[in-house]
Symmetry: C2
Subunit: 377 residues, 2 copies
């Protein structure tokens, strides 16, 4: 049975007065965060609530930039780690009766609703650590940021890096994106291309007076169908690549020989190469065709050979995995900070109408981080 959880989660949407209990059960805190709707562009109420809670913790220096927050300990430790998470979610589902809505709903020990996996659970773990780790073994920089689920130019993390680079200094970063409780290192890069053929238009009743651009695209599709994507080991993790047509378009009418056809190709590449190397590979694959690159973002190496990262992997106690989707670890990588993903919930449920996370997964994530940040160094 699905039932709404008891108050305060049934309280209507938040105002800046929303009081967050950072010392209670971290899964209940997750539900409270989910009940404050924060679709990209609407993060203010949630940022207000978190700022108010963070400012009550004397050991933290809090900085606000738009709807992003940075809260730092200044204990003079030898190492500083960054724990980062985004406040925004993708839009609410429009399917009637869908579970991925606001407010959240418990079904037994499983919490349903928008943000359950991506990533109010991770944000709740950050907040619980901020409130309860009074003497961490490393200095910690907590980052909560806006606009992750939209175009990169709007990213609150990118804005912080431009406006306040000194706040983003650190030896290692953990992004609390959902990884099912395993460390996922680095990420693949992504790039897009348009491969085009040209022909000569003609009335299809006299087809021999034209040249068919769609027929000319046959070898493009055959190259893609035959392509054997590589798996590349980078710093001990296996990154699986892929090369796919994501769109094809050609033709203007049922009686006209098409004079143009366009195949959009998405190449996801391992972090052993940058965008330029990825482009060179694709251009070679489609040599002789008209091709342009329309998009590109480099990946991130996992960086697990770094001692602080290795210690973290040991504390989690699970074999690390590669991350396939692009995440903000690439942004930290660009800043020279090794970064991994580690958070509660299944990434495959992110953005789905069936988004959910278990109470146990949130507890375990918090416990692993607490263990790592409390151990004697």
């Amino acid at each position: 049975m699905v039932h709404s959880k008891p108050s305060p989660a049934t309280t209507p949407t938040a105002t800046s007065a929303t009081n967050l209990d950072l010392n209670g059960d971290v899964a209940d805190l997750t539900a409270t965060l989910m009940d404050i709707e924060s679709v990209s562009g609407n993060e203010r109420a949630l940022a207000d609530a978190i700022e108010s809670a963070l400012r009550k913790i004397p050991s933290l220096q809090v900085h606000r930039d738009g709807d992003s927050l940075v809260a730092r300990t200044t204990l003079g430790r030898a190492e500083r780690v960054i724990l980062a998470g985004h406040l925004d979610t993708v839009p609410l589902p429009t399917t009637p009766g869908s579970r991925g809505t606001v407010p959240s709903a418990w079904d037994g020990e499983t919490l349903y609703g928008r943000g359950a996996t991506d990533m109010k659970g991770g944000v709740a773990v950050q907040l619980a650590l901020a409130a309860t780790l009074s003497e961490p073994n490393r200095d910690i920089t907590f980052i909560f940021y806006d606009h992750e689920e939209v175009e990169g130019s709007k990213s609150g993390l990118g804005r912080l890096a431009r406006n306040n680079p000194e706040l983003l200094v650190g030896d290692f970063a953990i992004l609390l994106e959902p990884t099912n409780g395993t460390v996922e290192g680095g990420c693949n890069g992504t790039s897009r291309y348009k491969v085009r053929t040209k022909g000569v238009a003609a009335h299809s009743a006299r087809a021999w007076m034209g040249e068919n651009a769609i027929h000319a695209a046959a070898p493009i599709l055959q190259i893609l169908a035959d392509y054997q994507p590589r798996t590349v080991n980078v710093d001990g993790l296996d990154y699986r690549e892929s090369m796919n047509a994501v769109r094809i378009n050609g033709g203007i009418a049922g009686n006209v020989i098409p004079d143009a056809c366009e195949v959009e190709v998405n190449y996801r590449f391992a972090p052993d190469k940058d965008v330029a190397a990825a482009e060179a590979h694709v251009f070679e694959l489609f040599a002789g065709f008209d091709i342009i690159r329309t998009d590109g973002a480099g990946g991130a190496r996992p960086g697990l050979q770094h001692p602080v990262a290795a210690a973290f992997v040991a504390a989690v106690g699970q074999a690390p995995k590669p991350k396939y989707g692009w995440t903000d670890v690439a942004r930290f990588s660009d800043l020279g900070i090794p970064a991994v993903n580690f958070g509660p919930g299944d990434a495959l449920l992110a953005h789905s109408d069936n988004e959910h996370v278990t109470r146990g997964a949130i507890h375990e994530c918090l416990a692993a981080l607490r263990r790592w940040l409390s151990a004697e160094l």
Copy 2:
């Protein structure tokens, strides 16, 4: 130099009062007809002007159905021939400065404008014959009809065949569509198909969890690229076939493995086969693929072995050719009436922004028909 022809062609667009001079120069009459805008659906003013002119000819029985007209001689001749032409044109060009507009314009002895070739010249020849052939050697049924340039269900000729089949009786039909002064016999059939592939959608960062429907379309395009269209001799004329992708579509987003791809195929087939035989050929070609037929119209055999047709070809004095585009000769063929195309102007200019016809071509067409319809039998 392009200049407007002298009055009455410079008179603004027609009303039912427009007086047509059927006894003057048939090329000047063509220009007058062009100056009465008659894009499909807007044939009324032109039909009114023609009806008024026909009703002044005592030897003709005139019948009107909507904006179509049938005018018949009843001389008790042994044979009856049908001379048919459509009143409508495709829409006016939107390119600024284009010549294919209303009113018409003479450049020397060349007449420019919408309908010059398709087919106000042919209609002018019909009208000149109606007015000047007082003692033809065969009974003649003149048909002027609306809605040829749009979907077949709107065809004025089709409507006449349903409402007044007795008016469409005849031994032979000539459609005055542009053929550059040669007899073009019969026409190819046309049929369209959707050939579809299915896949499994997935995020392109984890492409191996999906199946790419666009890649699966590679063999469809290869079959089309490899296809060798046949040339089929039917009743002495060579009909060139063609098999073409006219549209392709697949994919919904730049980061999603496409789960569907659709190729639209247009098969133009010789009149030795009907739509069912054409479909069987295409289904065999794409055996194993999901395929449906979405459209189909049979062609027409040239029927030139018929004595009345052979006599007409002899009167024209040029070697007959096959017609490739679908025309209403197929409709006459369905009614059991052998039919050919014969008219002034180049069919390749039809629908173009450069539509034009020469004065000489219109005169020659009229002369050939007059010769054939005046000869002693």
